[in-house]
Subunit: 252 residues, 2 copies
């Protein structure tokens, strides 16, 4: 029996935002490996084994998945969103590089998914419609000084900014600190968008400005987006405004 490993992205909360090839890989797998709340979003089929784990053990989880594939299992490692964006794909390759030499020649494929910032952008309109970036605010894996440097670099250069891992119970303070850093480079009128649990239970969008942004609105399921001075709002009579980035940009 030849094993394989598929590192799949479930997309945002809704199954409707999953790709056809990810659904097929989940159906073909003998073993599902991932953070327990993501596994809970998948209906396990007869004969499948689900291996749920805690959030902070990515490398252990990756090694476990590689060992299973090596032993002939058909393994799907699941991430929310896209597996290549602050998720399991890097952890699996890190485990491959530093693990058993035979793991390098396993049948390993990454199947992309819709990452949170695109689902959030779609709900809002098209706020990422021009140059943009994604930054993880977690300082577990990089120093805060580097996060600060990056925030200032992209804000000064006019990128729309998507903040992943913006806030959690273990890291309640980075997001407000990030708003303070961004205020050094951006006017207070720049739009700030909180997009919580898009496509899932408890979906919520909040539009505000950098001057008024309250980090307390974010939790671990919230993607935070910072617009630019070019970001446009289209008011509507009965609904939230559409937010979009114009396609053309003048010199800054």
């Amino acid at each position: 029996m030849t094993g394989w490993l598929r590192i799949v992205g479930l997309g945002p909360g809704a199954d409707a935002m999953r790709t056809h090839e990810v659904s097929a890989a989940l159906a073909a797998a003998s073993d599902l490996v991932g953070y327990a709340p993501y596994l809970a979003r998948i209906a396990t089929l007869p004969g499948q084994t689900a291996h749920g784990s805690d959030n902070r053990v990515e490398l252990d989880r990756a090694r476990h998945a590689l060992a299973l594939a090596s032993a002939g299992h058909r393994v799907a490692v699941v991430s929310g969103g896209d597996p290549g964006v602050f998720a399991m794909a890097s952890a699996v390759f890190e485990a491959v590089e530093h693990g058993e030499p035979a793991w390098r020649d396993l049948d390993i494929t990454v199947l992309p998914g819709v990452s949170a910032m695109f689902a959030a952008a779609a709900r809002l309109g098209a706020p990422l419609g021009h140059d943009f970036c994604a930054i993880s605010l977690s300082d577990n894996l990089k120093p805060w000084s580097l996060i600060r440097t990056r925030l200032l670099a992209v804000a000064s250069a006019g990128f729309v900014i998507a903040l992943y891992n913006a806030r959690s119970k273990a890291r309640p303070d980075q997001l407000q600190a990030a708003f303070t850093v961004l205020a050094e480079a951006l006017p207070g009128s720049v739009p700030v968008m909180f997009a919580r649990a898009i496509g899932g239970d408890g979906e919520k969008i909040t539009l505000t400005t950098l001057a008024e942004a309250d980090a307390g609105l974010a939790d671990m399921r919230t993607l935070v987006m910072i617009g630019t001075t070019e970001t446009r709002m289209i008011t509507r009579s009965d609904s939230r405004p559409f937010v979009y980035a114009p396609r053309s940009v003048e010199a800054i």
Copy 2:
């Protein structure tokens, strides 16, 4: 009859990388509007009308789609990849803002898709596994001086860079100029990845370095990615190396 507008992302070349909700919207539409080569990827159903157009008429196409929806049609505006990433969503909202006041209250929804950089990253391994950005190299809609400023800002701050609209027959020179700018901030050993037509006919991946990168390898179907000094390569006996960004980053 109540019309609607869905701005949908087909994902990369393969139908397998399309989401379930996009497939459903395409099936429910009365009219399909888009750049002709994207429409050619969809099997038109009986009763559906396809309105194909040239590449450079986004605003005209957007207004046409809005007028159809306003007249009661069920309209899907299609983009390759994700509609919010250098694609039709911004053009539609620009047309809404400056068009008929009634267009603001139409039923308009954006359905996200897998953007080219994530499909490219998935084929390569996980090169976007840490902070990253996306920049369009087209200077049709912004001055080259701004592109230069942005390239230097993100390269100096250690972002992985995905270049959209890297090269076309009408703009053959920007990509090599971008490599020259990047060389001011990055060592020549930094990995450069050319990902052409991922999931489609003529798919091709080329791995090289900034010092050796030849812009001639790119055409209008090529996504170009620039790694960082942290990017890792995992050699394999019979295949292309896996490329990934480690999850942890030291100060730069």
